[in-house]
């Protein structure tokens, strides 16, 4: 596939940066936390066993660090077409501020922080940096996740 160079103009970058997803709110269910811990094979009682977790510093069950990933989609649609069909998840950085507990109501908002064109191993790539903010019912930001999506 021949790709126009650059595929991403400065004008397109400025259109994309700052775009936000509509807020999406979900309740955290205890069963979902336990199933998530079981799926990753993590037997830590604070994620699996309410009675044991009550003796912990949290005083009850909490969600494993990457559980918030199951709270819904965090991809922000771009306001233009790009000549790439394939997408890869490049990785992410989580920052944690408060524990996530059963019964919490979490609101998820994703925001495009940056978008750049690079040439690498896969040829021309568009790297989109998205910051996803997870806020609980007490208006506390429980965690942020900065992730890099790669289109190529």
């Amino acid at each position: 596939m021949s790709t126009p160079s650059p595929a991403l103009t400065e004008e397109m970058r400025q259109q994309a940066i700052g775009l936000e997803s509509s807020p999406f709110t979900t309740d955290v269910e205890k069963g979902a936390i336990i199933r998530f811990a079981q799926a990753i094979g993590d037997e830590n009682p604070i994620f699996n066993d309410e009675a044991e977790a009550r003796k912990s510093k949290y005083g009850g069950l909490v969600a494993p660090p990457t559980f918030l990933r199951s709270m819904g989609s965090y991809r922000v649609a771009l306001p233009f077409e790009l000549p790439f069909d394939r997408m890869l998840d490049g990785g992410s950085e989580w920052r944690y501020f408060y524990p996530v507990r059963p019964g919490d109501r979490i609101t998820v908002v994703a925001r495009i922080e940056n978008i750049n064109e690079r040439t690498g191993r896969l040829g021309v790539m568009i790297i989109t940096t998205t910051v996803t903010t997870y806020t609980n019912q007490l208006d506390q930001v429980v965690a942020t996740q900065t992730s890099n999506g790669i289109r190529y």
């Binding site: 979902a32 494993p64 990457t66 998840d89 989580w94 944690y96």
Partner: protein, 146 residues
């Protein structure tokens, strides 16, 4: 409960005990259900082959979760995870063990908190670091104990 590690027990350059995970196709299906990521590349071998892969591959986020477990195990019940990052550099398939390893890169105090930065990664059976990452944890101090 796991043993507790204290801030005083940690030194810069110290290696962390490894954690071996044994991903199976069943685990990928369980993770797809638990996380809501139903991309077929993680459980449908024909679909994976149609995408130029030899086999189904682990969800990147599952590998992120392994590193999360690595840190929450290491820091013990009194530790607090402040930051966890990873990059997906290489693909991993079920049926092969994957090992989480790491070492302490920095030990410091900030805003009254006892913090430790770690370099962490997942490596395959050939020793390739398919998923390098980093973490910051807050650890309890023995001095705070009455």
């Amino acid at each position: 409960m796991a043993d507790q590690i204290y801030w005083e027990d940690v030194s810069e350059g110290m290696d962390m005990a490894p954690l071996v995970k044994n991903p199976t196709t069943q685990q990928l299906v369980k993770y797809a259900g638990a996380s809501g990521d139903y991309y077929q590349i993680h459980y449908d071998k024909d679909f994976a082959k149609g995408n130029g892969l030899d086999d189904v591959i682990l969800h990147g986020a599952l590998k992120n979760a392994y590193l999360g477990q690595y840190m929450t195990d290491w820091m013990g019940p009194l530790g607090t995870l402040a930051m966890l990052s990873c990059q997906y550099r290489g693909m991993d398939s079920p049926g092969q063990p994957i090992t989480a390893r790491g070492s302490v890169t920095r030990k410091y105090q900030e805003d009254g908190r006892n913090l430790v930065d770690c370099e962490i990664w997942l490596e395959n059976t050939e020793g390739q670091k398919t998923t390098p990452g980093a973490a910051t944890v807050e650890l309890p101090s023995r001095q705070g104990l009455g």
